[in-house]
C-alpha cells in the first residue's frame, strides 16, 4: 500500500479512536465501524475508478479535516445527553433507596410490636447462677460484742457481789 494512503487511513482511524474514546461501547463501536466501512468503500470505489493512491489519500485527509468540527460537536452532544441521563439515573436510584428504607422501617416496626413473636431470650439466668456459684461465699459477720445492760430491772451488772459476812 502506498505510504501516503496508509498514513491517511491511520490518521482517520486514529482521530476516530480519539474522539470516540471513553464513550459507552455501543456508540463507540458503532461510530468506529461506520467510519471503517466508509474508508473501505471509498478506497475500493476510488481504486475501481482508477484514482491514484496519493489522490485517494488527499481526499481522505480532506474529508477528515472538514469533518473535525462536527466530530467534536457530536461528542459534545453525546456528553450533554450523558449528563442528563446520569442525573435521571441518580434521581431514580435515590428514590429506590428511599422507598426501600421506608419499607424496611415499617416492617421492623410491625415486627417488633406485634406481628412477629420474638424468640425467648437465652438462659442468662442460668449463666448468672453459675457465675454466682463460682464466687466464694461472703465471710460470716463477726459475733456481736456482749451487751451489758444497766437498767432498773437488771441489778446484776458486772460480777456478782460477794456474800455478806456472818
Amino acid at each position: 500500500m502506498n505510504p501516503l494512503l496508509a498514513c491517511a487511513i491511520a490518521l482517520v482511524r486514529g482521530w476516530t479512536r480519539l474522539y470516540s474514546s471513553r464513550m459507552d461501547p455501543a456508540s463507540r463501536d458503532s461510530r468506529r465501524a461506520e467510519i471503517e466501512s466508509d474508508l473501505w468503500e471509498f478506497h475500493e470505489d476510488a481504486r475501481r475508478r482508477g484514482a491514484s493512491p496519493p489522490g485517494i489519500a488527499v481526499h481522505m485527509i480532506a474529508r477528515l479535516c472538514f469533518g473535525i468540527p462536527h466530530d467534536l460537536l457530536w461528542r459534545f452532544e453525546y456528553e450533554k445527553d450523558g449528563v442528563t441521563t446520569y442525573r435521571r439515573a441518580a434521581w431514580l436510584t435515590a428514590g429506590a433507596v428511599g422507598a426501600t428504607v421506608c419499607i424496611a422501617a415499617l416492617w421492623a416496626f410491625f415486627a417488633v410490636t406485634s406481628l412477629v413473636s420474638l424468640p425467648p431470650l437465652p438462659d442468662s439466668i442460668h449463666v448468672e447462677r453459675v457465675y454466682l456459684q463460682l464466687r466464694p461465699p461472703p465471710p460470716p459477720p463477726p459475733p456481736p460484742p456482749p451487751r451489758r445492760y444497766h437498767s432498773l430491772f437488771d441489778r446484776h451488772v458486772g460480777p456478782p457481789p460477794p456474800p455478806p459476812p456472818r
Binding site: 461510530r31 466501512s37 466508509d38 472538514f66 469533518g67 467534536l72
Partner: protein
C-alpha cells in the same frame, strides 16, 4: 449553524432527497458512503461530504425519526471480505420531509462546476 428545534439544515434535506431518489431507483436501504456519493453526484462536487458532517447528520435524522438504521447480517461482509455496513432506510416521515423540501425549493438550480475553457 444554529437551528430551530425540529427544523432541518440543508444537508439533512439533501440526504432525505438523495435517499428518496435512491428508493425510487429501487434501493430501499443505503449505507453512509453510498449516500455521500449520491450527494456528491447530485451537487457535482468533487469532494465528498466529510466523515464527521455526514455521520452526525445521519445520526440526527435517525434521532428525529426520518431514518432508521440496522447493521447488516455479519455473514454477508464476512463472505465478501469487507467491513460491515450500517444500512439506513427512509421512513414515511423522511419521505414527507424530502417531498416538502423538493416542493419548497424548486428554484434551486444545480450549479455547474467551473471548468477552464479550452484554449
Amino acid at each position: 449553524m444554529r437551528r430551530k428545534a425540529g427544523s432541518l439544515v440543508p444537508l439533512e434535506l439533501a440526504i432525505c432527497s438523495a435517499a428518496a431518489t435512491l428508493r425510487r431507483g429501487g434501493e430501499e436501504e443505503f449505507h453512509g458512503y453510498e449516500i455521500a456519493k449520491t450527494l456528491g453526484d447530485a451537487s457535482d462536487s468533487r469532494l465528498l461530504t466529510a466523515y464527521g458532517t455526514l455521520y452526525r447528520a445521519l445520526g440526527r435524522l435517525e434521532k428525529m425519526g426520518l431514518l432508521i438504521s440496522r447493521w447488516e447480517d455479519p455473514h454477508v461482509p464476512a463472505r465478501e471480505n469487507r467491513p460491515g455496513r450500517r444500512l439506513y432506510r427512509l421512513t414515511a416521515l423522511g419521505e414527507a420531509a424530502a417531498d416538502e423540501a423538493r416542493r419548497a425549493e424548486p428554484a434551486v438550480q444545480k450549479r455547474p462546476r467551473r471548468r477552464l475553457a479550452p484554449a
